[in-house]
Amino acid sequence: MSVSRKSPSRARVVWLVAKKEFVDLARDRRTLITALVVPLLAFPLLFGVEGYFGNPTSNPSPVVVANLDQNGNYSSALTQSLLGTNGLAVSVQNSANLTSLVEGGKYDVGVLIPSGFSSSIQSGAGGKVTVQYDPSNPRAAEGVALVSADVEKLSAQAAASKLLSKGITGSDLNPIGMTIDLVGKVQSNGQLLIASLFPSFLTYFTFLGAFYFMVDDIAGEKERRSLEALFTLPPTRTTIFLGKYTDAFILSMITSGLGLVGTVIGLDELSGASGATGGVSLPLSLFPEIFGIIALAGLSMCALGFCISTFAKNIREAQQYLSPIFFVFFIPLYVEFALPPSQLAEFASVPLVGYTILIRDIILGTAGVQEIALSLASNVVTLLVLLWLGIRLLSSERVILRTG
């Protein structure tokens, strides 16, 4: 041969295959948008919107109060209480057709204080306000809750005042009290919120980032008939698999990293907007540990994706098989609400989905050595099985000839 050649090492071939794939995917807008733009923007936007619309200060519930009990003590007290409640934008009118105002969407909640309301309370017959709202309006439900709290507060004050005049105290009325003490390491709802959402998002990103790449890569090569030329090259199928897999994993990690940044920004927005100061945050010291688990999750999800992409006849079939996997990431969210902490720790050992629970428990500080060891062991075994299967599939004539 006139051209001098030196057989490249496996590492060099893996690098060459990975580099080729990177050049290829860098020119694929669909993959770039999915892998880079979506994770960075999705959650800041989502949480920003949630933070704005869920914030009672920036987005109070409009309430119309029709006070037909002019000059009554209790009606005035209730109206003043409503006017001073944070989260409500109250408009007081002497008479109004509340139903049309609420149905028309001008107000979330209508409160009718009937004529004779105060005198009825004073006489002992009791008074009753009528509240109207549209149940399909979530902000209205928040408004009704705030109105109810004001009504109950006024009712309690009226009762206490009347009882006191008869020599009966609050302790006489409620002789047995209750104190609730929180135990365990979870001390705030904000901490629980972040521990639930954050791991699911991150593991989701490990798959999302490489999704289109995995769909397009082996199944796409089958469809474009480029595998045959690739397989006539000297490297083994294992080396070719590793080159492609390396790309998918790097892409998965880039997306997860951006998703991590996006999620932290988003949670920060949510925290600031909702006023839950200090509740929604994540200590930076946990990041290396979390990212180590995410890397393992990325390796597993990419191995699973490549097995499916290799088996699929074409891009369409690969999409059909791979898309349902996104539902896997919602399973832990449901499981968290259904299982007590002790069983959740066992769930962390479930391959592929257990990562989410493990990260959750690390954030909450409840992950024990046994939980971590079992979860990592089961997932490492799963990863090795998936890698073995992926290489086997790529080496199988029956699978490679499955085209169409």
Partner: protein, 240 residues
Amino acid sequence: MQGLTKKFGDKVAVDNFTLEIPTGIVFGLLGPNGAGKTTVVRMLSTILKPTSGTATVNGYDILGQPGLVRQSIGVLPEDTGLYDRLTAVETLRFYGGVQGLSGPELDERIEKLLKLLELFDRRNDRTAKYSRGMRQKLALARALIHDPPVLLLDEPTLGLDVMSTHAIRDYVKGIAKEGKTVLLNTNNMYEAQMLCERMALINNGALRASGTVTDLESLAKTKGLEEVFINLVRSDVSVA
């Protein structure tokens, strides 16, 4: 090739195929569509494993030394299988790199092949923008990037226009003069007669005849390769 057989389930794609291809010639493997030509090439290029039998390519056994076989061959498959988002230079740099070429030598080789195949002016265009003829030429350059001693060309001019067909055929003639061994799969009799010193006819997966054009004409008792082909295929059908 010694008793080379390939079965897909119950279907026998290649049946006990025994053939020796001399070194340094263009050898035509002729046969109608579905005769088993592509399966033979896939087995020789180690993409498929024979169900039984074996073959050696450039002295290397396809079962025992598949890596060395793949180092010795350049393959132009039936479908070019190019990466649409890569340019011609990127394509050849990738395939050349994996074949063990690097540095200035690889760059020179890429330049030489692209100039020879008249693709140099479009070397930095993505292959998605190439015509079918240009894609076929680039696929040929890809097969030749590492200067292999054996070339397996599967229907290299199928569906090409006159100019591209002419260019590819010219180039195959040139390769033969360099002393390389070329296995040319085709069902184009004109092309076979023009390029191949020797040829074999395969039908229904089995070898029907082999030799020079003259040998085949005497066997089929007719003149002209096209008539030979038709006679041999028809007789095969009647035998079956």
